[in-house]
Amino acid sequence: MDTLSLIATASILIAGLTTAIGVIAPSLGQGRAVASALNAIAQQPDASPTITRTLFVGLAMIESSGIYCFVISMILIFANPFWNHFAGN
């Protein structure tokens, strides 16, 4: 196997693994956040606008760690610096 196909294989494998493993923790976190928010809304329905707003901001911030993994995968597939380096030579 020459260098280019080695890089391609590693990139595709790691890109899939990055998103697959990296998404586990944020999704667990988001599930916990939504569950607590639902509990809070059930106990205090009056405060639901505030809770919902805070929940959305919190969810987006938790989501960003999953998004980082996705960005890494996308860089590996579409803008791999090593690929361009070796393909150029």
């Binding site: 901001v57 987006a60 960005v71 996308m74 803008a79």
Partner: protein
């Protein structure tokens, strides 16, 4: 498939390139300034408030409230910067409803520039408020051992600010274009709708985080 709108190049001469990001950013800036200028051109205390001015005042008051709720007294000082950040990002993300449009926030160069503005604005506002010495002292709170971490935190939060916005918008676009080839028409529409929601939330988060960063340094003192 282009991962960022930076790769769509309209005109290039040696090292100078005019790409999609640049064009849409300038178009949005001209549109936002033009609309605001048109509405505020002939407002007067004696005149009755018309619909357009009412909408603008609504946005203005909401932004003011949000800034003061996040912990900055006297929001009028910070509104030009924070309000512009929010309006620009929100408008750039909402405009995806037009076909053929690529959001400039889906390019890392735009989001990095915006995050760099926040990176500069934090010391700017705080040095102006409390002086250079008192501002540098905030790096040594709660104790001097935390100084390196405070400095690192300054950089990492700028990085995460830019990556958060870029990743969210870019991932939305990529998922839509993948779905277009898998299940055309129905699912891409739902994902575009979801993208509008994410776009507004991300604009809100970007502005509120900038507010919190500015407020945090002044609170420590």
């Amino acid at each position: 498939m282009n991962i960022t709108p930076d790769q769509i190049i309209y005109w290039s001469y040696e090292n100078i390139r005019i790409n999609n990001t640049l064009v849409t950013t300038w178009a949005i800036m001209i549109l936002l300034t033009g609309i605001s200028w048109l509405i505020t051109r002939n407002i007067h205390p004696d005149k009755p408030v018309d619909g357009k001015q009412g909408v603008l005042e609504m946005i203005f008051i909401t932004l003011n409230e949000q800034i003061s709720e996040a912990g900055l007294q006297n929001p009028a000082r910070y509104l030009p910067f924070l309000g512009t950040l929010f309006l620009f990002i929100a408008f750039a993300n909402i405009a995806t409803i037009f076909p053929g449009y690529r959001a400039p926030t889906g390019s890392l160069s735009t989001t990095a520039a915006l995050a760099f503005c926040v990176f500069l604005a934090v010391p700017f506002y705080n040095i102006y408020d409390m002086g250079l010495k008192a501002y540098l002292k905030t790096y040594f709170s709660p104790n001097p051992f935390m100084a390196p971490f405070n400095v690192i935190g300054e950089f990492t939060r700028t990085l995460s600010l830019s990556f958060r916005l870029f990743g969210n918008i870019m991932s939305g676009e990529i998922i839509i274009s993948i779905l277009l080839s898998l299940a055309p028409f129905f699912f891409p529409v739902i994902m575009s709708l979801f993208g509008l929601l994410t776009g507004i939330i991300q604009a809100y988060i970007f502005a509120i985080l900038a507010t919190v960063y500015i407020a945090a340094a002044s609170k420590n003192n």
